[in-house]
């Protein structure tokens, strides 16, 4: 639907993509920090299993964060 000269479908798309990407990328990097910090704490406490789990969380979150960054650069290159 177009109101005046504004494509409201496009506008809605901007809103939800921005919400998803903006909050998502912030949350992912926070999980990297949480995972890394807690992994260190667990290792020092001698809880190797938990340390590994947190390290895996940090690694996974970082991989997804890095993928987001690559997608962003791709979007810049291909626009």
């Amino acid at each position: 639907m177009t109101v005046l000269a504004v494509d409201t479908h496009l506008l809605w798309q901007v809103v939800w993509v921005s919400l998803l990407a903006g909050v998502g990328i912030s949350a992912l990097f926070s999980l990297v920090i949480l995972g890394a910090a807690r992994s260190g704490e667990m290792r020092r406490a001698g809880r190797d299993g938990a340390a590994f789990a947190y390290a895996a969380l940090a690694a996974l979150a970082f991989a997804l964060f890095a993928a987001g960054v690559v997608l962003g650069v791709q979007a810049m290159v291909n626009k």
Partner: protein, 361 residues
């Protein structure tokens, strides 16, 4: 006239660089993620690189907003002067505002004075300037606010040391993305203007590739402007809107970068300045509404509202002066000389202000 337009376009590119440095680096400087000089150096290099990444020439500045068939080099020249004047004025008052909107405003004003109302498309203005200007800060405010709430929820109970360090590292990445994105967007505008001038003058064919010297000069001008740094605006965005912690700085930058890229990806480009400013306010307000200095925020919003009419007024006035003096060469030369004098004065004052900058602003 051609070379005057080229030189003025590069001058605009320079002001665009130093005016928008703050978008990429202000929060990183404020939270001490990067030293001021390292931050602007990094931003300058990435702006330069960004200019080469995407060469889909933005010969589209003001396309759909003014009648392209009526545009002459004199109109473009006057529009550029309007944009430069607004960039310098807002820099002087330390107010972040959109360089793109200033350029559009300048061209609209000069086209209106030159050709009358028929040269300006009202619906294009609504679609490409007014609606994005309303959407960008509100959207970034909401996403920034939600983003920081999620972040605090995730890391809120952790020891501050690793969290602060982690977000500072994150800010280096997000600042780099923003600087690169700025180079891909804003240097293109100048390339587009110079390319149009060359086409209009018969130097290159409309379907030719952009000459290498155009790409290099536009990239160099925006990088140099970025390196010089608009310290007054950096201070406003970094520490006068909110007093931010590294988590807020990271979220503001990351949300800014993702919103800009997401919007650009779906074909609805938003102003970087509006997005970053909105995100900074959102991360502050989500923590505590009174954390935002609403007086400063109000001044910034007032500058946004004034961008289009003010740059249009200067663009229109400049065109009138140029037309009066003779639009071949004399008018543009006289106006350019006055502009150069103003730019020299502005740079002199910037050097003084730059030396007093600290990370606390």
């Amino acid at each position: 006239m051609l070379w005057i337009v080229v030189a003025t376009a590069l001058a605009f590119d320079f002001t665009n660089g130093f005016h928008d440095t703050a978008n990429a680096v202000a929060t990183a400087i404020s939270t001490r993620a990067l030293s001021p000089r390292l931050a602007v150096s990094m931003a300058a290099v990435l702006n330069f690189a960004g200019a080469f990444i995407s060469l889909a020439v933005a010969a589209t500045i003001a396309t759909g907003i003014v009648d392209a068939d009526l545009i002459t080099p004199a109109i473009v020249f006057a529009g550029l002067v309007g944009a430069i004047a607004w960039n310098l004025a807002t820099w002087y008052f330390g107010l972040p505002s959109s360089s793109s909107h200033a350029l559009i405003g300048g061209v609209v004003g000069s086209a209106f004075v030159a050709e009358g109302a028929k040269a300006v498309y009202g619906s294009g203005l609504v679609d490409k300037v007014i609606v994005p200007a309303l959407v960008a800060p509100v959207l970034a405010f909401v996403v920034g606010g939600l983003g920081i709430l999620v972040v605090y929820r995730i890391v809120g109970r952790q020891r501050p040391g690793p969290v602060v360090r982690g977000f500072r590292y994150g800010q280096v990445i997000s600042a780099s993305l923003l600087a690169l994105s700025h180079g891909t967007n804003d240097a293109q505008k100048t390339m587009g203007i110079i390319f149009l001038a060359l086409v209009a003058n018969g130097n290159v064919a409309p379907d030719a590739d952009v000459p290498t010297w155009v790409v290099v000069s536009a990239a160099s001008a925006i990088a140099l402007g970025t390196y010089v740094g608009g310290w007054r605006i950096i201070r406003t965005m970094g520490s006068r809107i909110i007093k931010m912690d590294p988590a807020q700085g990271f979220v503001a930058q990351s949300v800014g970068a993702t919103v800009i890229m997401a919007a650009s990806h779906v074909g609805f480009p938003l102003s970087t300045t509006h997005v970053i400013s909105g995100a900074i306010m959102g991360t502050g307000a989500a923590k505590r509404v009174s954390a935002v200095r609403w007086g400063v925020a109000g001044n910034i919003v007032a500058a946004w509202v004034l961008t289009l009419p003010a740059s249009a007024a200067v663009g229109g006035l400049t065109y009138a002066v140029v037309a009066l003096l003779g639009s071949d060469d004399v008018g543009p030369i006289v106006v350019s000389a006055a502009l150069l004098a103003a730019l020299g004065l502005a740079l002199g004052r910037r050097l003084v202000a730059g030396r007093t900058l600290t990370a606390e602003g």
